[in-house]
Structures are given as C-alpha cells and as structure tokens.
C-alpha cells in the first residue's frame, strides 16, 4: 500500500473536467485508489467522477491518496504528475 499527500495547485481546483482526467488515468490501473481530504474524513473513489466531486477540493486543498494493488507504484507516479501539473491548466 502506498500513500501520499498532494496539494491541488490549479486555480479551478478539483472541478469536473479535472476529475474526469483523474478518473481516466486511475481507471487504467488495477489498484484501488482512494482520495481523502486531510482536513476532514470525506473519502472518494478516484475511479468515479461524481465521488471525486464530493470532496469539493479547491486550490490549496491537501488530499491524501491511498493506492493498493499490483500496479500501485506506477499509479502513484502518474497521479502525482497529473496533480502536480495542475491537470495541464497551469
């Protein structure tokens, strides 16, 4: 199991299109991928757009990602890249 804290850096936060990109990426992997806000216990499934949107993660929010499965390393690597790149919106 891998875990990482990441900061949402793009201006619009984790909005619908950004969530869709994250889902598209996460769905490539077999591992289960969970996202949690670090300031509350709201948890979301990274493979569901509507679940991610319930986090209401605006810019500056720190999210905790937990990945569990055979391809967890690759998954964490690519998800970190996507979020740190502000979903291509920077």
């Amino acid at each position: 199991m891998l875990e990482s804290n990441l900061k949402i850096v793009n201006q619009l936060g984790l909005h619908a299109r950004a969530a869709a990109q994250l889902v598209k990426l996460s769905s490539k992997f077999l591992s289960s991928i969970k996202i949690q806000r670090t300031d509350s216990n709201i948890e979301a499934d990274a493979k569901s757009i509507l679940s991610i949107l319930t986090l209401a993660a605006s810019r500056g929010t720190i999210i905790n990602i937990t990945i569990n499965g055979s391809d967890e390393e690759q998954a964490l690597d690519e998800i970190e890249q996507l979020i740190n790149a502000g979903f291509g919106e920077l």
């Binding site: 869709a20 757009i49 509507l50 949107l53």
Partner: protein, 144 residues
C-alpha cells in the same frame, strides 16, 4: 480490459435542455456514443415526438437495454417516454440532472438495466446540496 457493452441512454426534455445536458456531459467526459438527446418542441405532435424517441432508442441500443432520462415527472416528455416502458428493456428515470448523465456516461462493469436505473435515481438525488450547508460549518471552525 475487454470492451464492455453499454446500456444505452436517451435524454428527453422540453426545448433544448436535453441537447445541452448531453453537450455539457461530453465536455466533461468526452464523446458519448451510447447517449443521445431528444428535444421535444413546444408545438410538436405526440406522434412525431414518439417517432423521434423510438428512433433514438434503436440508435443507442447495444442489446443491454436503454435508460430514458426525462426532465420532469408529469410533463409531456416523460408521459411520451412512459409509452416505451418495458421492464428490464426500457426504464425511465425523471428529473434528469448533469450528475445523472455523468453516471450513465461512465460504465465500467456490465450491470443490469434495472440496477442502473436505481443507481442513477439515487445519484441524482444525492448530488443535490445546499452549498451553504457545506460552507458555513467550515467557516465557523476557522473562526473558532
């Protein structure tokens, strides 16, 4: 992962609402070949509206059933859609909103149509919030 056969979906509404909902969903998740929209004009005849919905159903059907999402219970688009109801084959859920369309857009596993209809109904209800209810408690915590 093997290609899954999807449940088809037709959004049926008054005016252009259906087209615009589909277009918004496509902007979020990309092209949606298994979903189409039927906008019933204010002056359309029932027969022509029925014909449009019937064509739309055959267009999106992949053999796993079709879900009709209509704008408002009791309205003409819903009433005409109801004529196509066939348990397990064509199901109707009213009060369509964008989260419901996105729910149907993302199908990762083959679930039965009746289960999809239940999930879409619940999704639609759960996706409604009063933003203030979420924002105020957090502000109070910050002030405290």
């Amino acid at each position: 992962m093997a290609e899954i056969k999807k449940i088809g979906c037709v959004i049926v509404s008054h005016g252009q609402v259906a087209n615009e909902l589909l277009s918004a969903a496509e902007n979020v998740v990309g092209d949606l070949g298994h979903i189409t929209a039927v906008s019933i004009g204010w002056h359309d005849e029932v027969e022509s509206a029925k014909e449009q919905i019937s064509r739309a159903i055959s267009q999106v059907s992949e053999g796993r059933g079709v879900l009709l999402l209509t704008d408002m219970f009791g309205g003409t688009p819903t009433n005409i859609s109801a004529m196509f109801y066939e348990q397990g084959e064509v199901e109707i859920v009213t009060g369509v909103n964008l989260p419901m369309v996105i729910k149907v857009a993302n199908q990762n596993t083959e679930i039965p149509l009746t289960q999809m209809a239940d999930e879409v109904e619940n999704q639609g209800k759960e996706a409604i919030y009063q933003a203030g209810d979420l924002l105020i408690p957090k502000k109070m915590i910050k002030d405290a």
